[in-house]
Symmetry: C2
Subunit: 299 residues, 2 copies
């Protein structure tokens, strides 16, 4: 698949994801509506929608119709957005900017931002278990996918990863610990996103296993590139100040092994991701293109 | 059912809930384990386990075996505990004590407490979708119950209720707005707890509807009594200072209508809860006894 064709395809699905998010979270008028406003603010602030796209493309790779799983894909974006809002809080990374805009607690206030994150996590699971989805896959598959994602978002993934990341601040961290952080904080949800698509579409166990390897390697590559961009990226393209990881004493891949070796490590992970897809035909071309794209991204 | 018999029964199931929680969240050794410790700290700090009990008793009222739904019931306690941890945060109610112990952010720190809440919400949905549960009910019922609870925890319940509660602080609030707060912040999850039990056990639509009325009335009674206890309770029994709602300018039921009328309102809601159970026989006796118990509770 050509880069142009992939870009068009991704941009089509990105729009479908955004339309669906808009339809499940319209503005509201009621005493507690401020938290909905804050959820919308962060949800519609120009994310790449990587996780929902991975879910839809994972489903297509296993012969499913992406359209059928839009609600599930949107739930993944809600989970990701909640984690960004909470990570930015003063007690956590204390960031003022995200994607070039004031972070949620800056645009609103801390209490509202905490609740907006909480509300987005609940909304994710509301969407994952939407009756409409049950009709488009089987209830068994749907339950399996939700269970997998809950584990990846919680104490077998994101939450323990973010905890370890905070605990690693300001001290020398070994490769094993950094690997734990990246795998749990970032790779787990990326992996669960593409795997959940495969499960929903009824992929066989070997296909699921292949998507799982792909997703984990892609997630690691993504985080390493993230660390590299924080050092070398363009502030305007990134939407946040460069070098913030270093100033905060964050454990990063280039900090541990140097910029050149970090680049090579990201390339190795992308190679691993591509070779995991060997069993698939052209139906996995978008996933292949996405893996290559991760290496060249600028934000 | 005699009060003594009910107490014994509740205490039996409370122990089963606690044993199950212990088995799904054992202490761990890994870089991010601090958040697990914090989750355990709050989860095992002497809660009444009202929500899991309601789920189990709701299932029994519809002819189910409580034992079959323990994992689901434990998920409800995780949701409730997460909401307490986040409500206590400095940016929210800024409480130092909960059940006579330092609140989670006091015993650990703010970042850990935020993550512990996040992790408990994810764990709740991990438990709700546990493969073991699927075997003990049908996947369709399980999905319906999870969807209902997700709505009650999120933007159709707890989260918007807590937002409205914060926004009401320090200003005069009318009965309609206070009703919105109580219904969303407290009653929604209590209602969903008993209803989910009925759904899991395969209750008919009329039974589900009856449990829904019961749960909403019980939830409102529970919150009114909570407001009353904050004014008149014993600090040692409550495990927190008396009068904190008033000092904080919180909207409360006795603040709006006076103590006597608040007591009568709680009684009226309990009557409503009891009359909603008319269609049930002795299999709903524990639910009846629980409703009466809400009026006499001291903490």
């Amino acid at each position: 698949m050509k880069t142009e064709e992939l870009k068009e395809r991704l941009s089509f699905w990105r729009k479908r994801v955004e339309m669906t998010l808009e339809s499940v979270l319209p503005p509201r008028e009621e005493p507690g509506a401020r938290v909905i406003e804050a959820m919308r603010y962060s949800l519609f602030s120009g994310g790449k929608r990587l996780r929902p796209l991975l879910c839809l493309l994972g489903a297509e790779a296993c012969g499913g119709k992406a359209e059928d799983y839009l609600l599930f894909a949107c739930g993944l974006e809600c989970l990701h957005t909640y984690s960004l809002i909470h990570d930015d809080l003063p007690a956590m990374d204390d960031d003022d900017l995200r994607r070039g805009q004031p972070t949620c607690h800056r645009a609103f206030d801390e209490a509202t931002a905490i609740l907006a994150g909480d509300g987005l996590q609940a909304l994710a699971f509301e969407l994952f278990t939407h009756p409409e989805l049950e009709r488009r896959t089987s209830p068994q598959r749907l339950l399996r996918a939700v269970h997998l994602v809950a584990r990846a978002a919680g104490i077998h993934g994101m939450v323990v990863g973010q905890m370890a990341d905070l605990l690693a601040e300001g001290r020398r961290v070994g490769k094993e610990e950094l690997d734990y952080i990246h795998r749990h904080k970032t790779a787990a949800l990326i992996q669960a996103s593409v795997v959940s698509g495969g499960i929903l579409a009824g992929g066989g166990e070997e296909e699921i296993q292949a998507l799982s390897c792909y997703g984990e390697a892609l997630g690691l590559a993504f985080q390493i590139v993230d660390d590299i961009l924080d050092l070398t990226g363009d502030e305007r393209e990134l939407g946040k100040p460069v070098g913030s990881d270093e100033r905060r004493g964050k454990a990063t891949y280039p900090g541990l092994v140097g910029l050149e070796e970090a680049r090579r490590a990201a390339e190795r992970e992308v190679e691993k991701a591509l070779s995991a897809l060997k069993r698939f035909g052209p139906e996995a071309d978008p996933l292949r293109a996405l893996a290559r794209f991760v290496l060249t991204r600028k934000n």
